[in-house]
Amino acid sequence: MNINWLSVLGIITTPIIAFIVGVTYGGLTRRITARIQNRYGPPSSQNLLDIIKLYSKETSIQHGVMQHLGPVFAITASITTLYFIPVIKNSVVFTNLSFNGDLIFLLYIMVFGSLGMALGAGQTGNPNAAIGVSRGLSQMVGYEIPFVLSLVAIMTQFHTTSLTDLLAVQKHFADWIIFQSPLAFIAGILAFLGMMGYAPFDVVIAPAEIASGPPSEFGGKYLALMMTSRSIFTFAKLVLFTDIFLGGASDFITLIIKTFLLYMIPVLTGIVFPRFRTEQSICFFWKWPLVFGVLAILVVVL
């Protein structure tokens, strides 16, 4: 049996890199937010310290096996999603399994974690958690539709469902899909705002309403695993969007620049907006993003 050691290297290092980048982005976000809020802010390593601290909590409390496995579901989805996305263009190491799945597959595997987390939160028996899950799933239906519209527009335009093929299309700066299909990009980026869960779409965890919602019974190692998963998943989503719209990246510096710029969109939006109520958020996604998505498809079809 011949093992491609380079891909094994990729399999091992990709989640680690994703975690480090994601966690640093998280810390930087807090710092940038702090600066806008007229204060100094925590060090960029703050999120990492938080995660280490949570792992080092002595006791952890669980209400049953689904709560125990909920964070595992989440992180499995994050890492698997990452594996099926080409992180670096044309790289042997960081392509991982991206030839074996396509966009539709990615859409579904991304939900895997939410479903697992929802089950875990459900088992805790906390009404706040259940309300949070109910809000989260409702909002998910909201933003998935414009996202799919945008994906369908792109898939139709380029006659492929594979991310690798989409990357191959965007060879030069002018070929980026953001320029080739701007309407799809608008729909996609608006859906992306919802996907990232920053304000105004943070109704799921809304502390002032439902005391942080689904994770309200998770602490210690469970919360740590969830935060780890969140860091990786953030990075995975950023890479996915970079690959789809911004032409991917052929080295790490480009990747960092592109993903960071992309990441700043939801972060900066979040700083200046209060949160929507659930139905307002759903209606928002079904208004303009939907229109843009439909227009994007019409442009491609006609």
Binding site: E58, T59, S60, I61, Q62, H63, G64, M66, H68, P71, V72, I79, F84, L97, N100, D102, I104, F105, Y108, I109, V111, F112, L115, A118, L119, G122, T124, G125, N126, P127, A130, I131, V133, S134, R135, L137, S138, M140, V141, I145, V152, A153, M155, H159, T160, T161, S162, D165, S216, E217, G220, L225, R277, T278, E279, I282, W286, V294, I297, V301
Partner: protein
């Protein structure tokens, strides 16, 4: 020895025997029924591929034979039949009139087997009627309000049956034969008007059973009141007979006509809207069985869409989903039945927190919902994937959005289903609930394993499907044992997907279990963060009432504005008609027969008029 008449004989003889033996030796009736299904399973499995039997009755020749297409559904019926009867042994143990129950149950199975092996329209109709009648008997088996619901089911079935009958009559009058082999492929010999009429009538007829949207009204209630083992069969196999018929009509009759694309287009949109609306309705349900019933309607909508699109991949997706839906919906209905057996209710606002009491049922339900949701790595994903790919690649851009919206919204009701029944607060009133007996566990476990295996090796199911598609004259499509391909060169390797998911999941599962194992303590669901307060005994901490209120509110304009009113109106008209009829006829046995005759007369009259104009 192993041939189709024997199969039917076994089914109907077993049915009668279990009825008779109920009065002689009640203890034996269940073994008899079980033995019948075992025999059926063996016979269907061992049935040779080319068996063909002609029986001459008067002028008509009845033809029974095996086709790959029929065998696909036949196997499904036999397997589900065995599982549901096995499940019934303990589930129904404490019920009354079991002879009646098993007789009708086996009649339904026999009828369905007859349908799939029929090679002419007469026997198809004959067995269709057997299936309909005996399933009607089972719908009204259980409780008091079942009567009116049964009536609703019966009326719709009658509409369906007579639509089919008129279609058959039209065919016979214009072609002079009812043999499949004489009709299929020769449809263009008759005039366009009759062709259209026949196809529309047949689709209406079969659409009733597969709960196509305007004709679905009977389904939620009928599913909800019928006893759980039968609901599993009802939603799993019986509704697939409609799909079976629609498949025949589409690919054997309509495919050769000039207006095929219109039929496809209309049917696809009807299917898509069925899927979306049924999903929205399912979200608003509070009864678990009704929720699953609407879910079934939605899933059947996907199947119809797949069939109607008509590309090889989409047909494969539809048939794949048809088989899979039978399995996972049976799993869910069985899990619900298990909950019902132990708690006496399927109201999701009452039951909660059964996970630790009924782990097997929970795992079944969990795998069921993951399959319905189409999340990898279970079988549902392959079906959803093929469906989307085919939709996108055949240019149905907006249909794919409708389907995707329905499919995403399905997460909502699925989570609500499993959360309300199994997760959440472990309440005192369900303290003494136990897991169901092993006879009920076995079918659930076997089907769970099935969806898991199909998830890794969709090819196992795609093999018979591709041969069935060959019978339907559809071009073959590309697949491997565990790799799916689309037309644009995209692929999903399920083995790699499953391997990576399993590896990460197991690795981190072990990690989180071992890490701080000693200091991880289990606490009850009463020990939760309630803002520092201590809840009193009677306070309800389970969030179950109106679970998706915000979502319902945001889709309310969509439902309220147009379709809801039409349905209410239609419903009202029907209800009033029933009421009126109930006043006229006093409700004894004759009533229904009279009613049906009346309906038949009206239908004939109308079709005469319509067809007269067309012709």
């Amino acid at each position: 020895m192993i041939s189709i008449p024997y199969i039917l004989l076994i089914a109907f003889a077993g049915a009668l025997l279990s009825f008779v033996i109920h009065h002689i030796a009640p203890k034996l009736r269940t073994p008899v029924a079980l033995l019948t299904t075992v025999l059926l399973l063996y016979f269907v499995w061992a049935l040779p591929a080319n068996s063909l039997i002609n029986i001459k009755i008067g002028d008509f020749i009845l033809t029974w034979g095996t086709t790959a297409y029929g065998q696909l559904f036949g196997m499904l019926v036999a397997v589900l039949g065995f599982f549901t009867v096995l499940y019934s042994t303990d589930f129904m143990a404490s019920k009354e009139r079991l002879g009646y129950f098993y007789m009708n149950f086996l009649f339904v199975i026999g009828g369905m087997l007859g349908i799939v092996y029929s090679q002419d329209f007469i026997s198809l109709f004959f067995f269709w009627e057997i299936m309909t009648w005996s399933s009607f008997m089972l719908v009204i088996y259980c409780c008091k309000d079942a009567q009116s619901i049964g009536l609703k089911y019966f009326v719709f079935s009658a509409i369906g049956a007579y639509s089919i009958l008129i279609g058959i009559v039209l065919l016979y009058s214009s072609m002079g034969t009812l043999q499949f082999k004489n009709i299929f492929g020769h449809i263009n010999e008759i005039s366009t008007g009759i062709k259209i009429s026949v196809i529309i009538l047949m689709i209406i007829g079969f659409g009733v059973k597969s709960a196509l949207m305007p004709l679905h009204v009977w389904a939620p209630d009928a599913y909800a009141v019928s006893p759980s083992p039968f609901t599993a069969l009802f939603s799993g196999a019986l509704s697939k007979m409609g799909i079976f018929g629609i498949g025949l009509v589409l690919f054997k009759l309509a495919a050769h006509t000039g207006f095929y694309s219109y039929v496809q287009y209309t049917l696809a949109w009807i299917g898509g809207i069925t899927a979306l609306l049924a999903t929205f309705y399912a979200i608003a349900q509070t009864d678990a069985k009704k929720l699953l019933a609407y879910s079934s309607i939605g899933q059947l909508g996907y199947i119809i869409v797949g069939l109607a699109i008509g590309t090889p991949l989409s047909i494969a997706a539809a048939l794949f989903l048809a088989i899979l839906h039978a399995i996972f919906k049976s799993m869910l209905f069985m899990a619900t039945g298990a909950v019902y057996m132990r708690t006496g209710t399927t109201n999701m606002t009452e039951v909660s927190g059964l996970i630790r009491k009924m782990p097997i049922s929970f795992v079944t339900a969990l795998f069921g919902i993951i399959t319905v949701a189409g999340v990898p790595p279970l079988g549902g994903f392959a079906a959803k994937w093929m469906l989307y790919e085919s939709l996108i690649q055949s240019g149905h851009y907006f249909l794919v959005i409708v389907i995707f919206a329905a499919s995403t919204a399905a997460f909502l009701y699925l989570f609500r289903y499993i959360f309300s029944l199994f997760l959440g607060q472990e309440e005192k009133e369900w303290e003494n609930v136990k897991e169901v007996p092993w006879t009920m566990q076995i079918p659930m476990i076997l089907m769970t394993i099935f969806v898991l295996v199909i998830g890794v090796f969709p090819g196992l199911l795609l093999d018979p499907i591709s041969s069935a598609m060959q019978y339907l004259n559809v071009k073959p499509f590309d697949y491997q044992m565990s790799v799916l391909f689309n037309n644009w060169g995209g692929k999903v390797d399920m083995q790699i997907v499953v391997r990576s998911i399993a590896a990460v999941f197991i690795l981190l599962g072990i990690f989180i279990t071992i890490k701080g194992y000693r200091n991880t303590r289990y606490v009850t669901t009463k020990d939760i963060h309630t803002s520092g307060e201590i809840p009193t005994e009677n306070e309800n901490l389970t969030y179950a009432v109106d679970f998706y209120k915000p979502f319902e509110r945001s889709i309310a304009p969509l439902l309220k504005a147009s379709i809801d009113k039409v349905y209410t109106l239609t419903g009202d008209i029907f209800e009033q008609a029933f009421d009126y009829l109930r006043y006229v006829y006093t409700g004894n046995g004759q009533t229904y027969a009279m009613y049906v005759v009346l309906f038949l007369a009206i239908l004939l009259l109308f079709s005469e008029l319509i067809f007269g104009i067309i012709l």
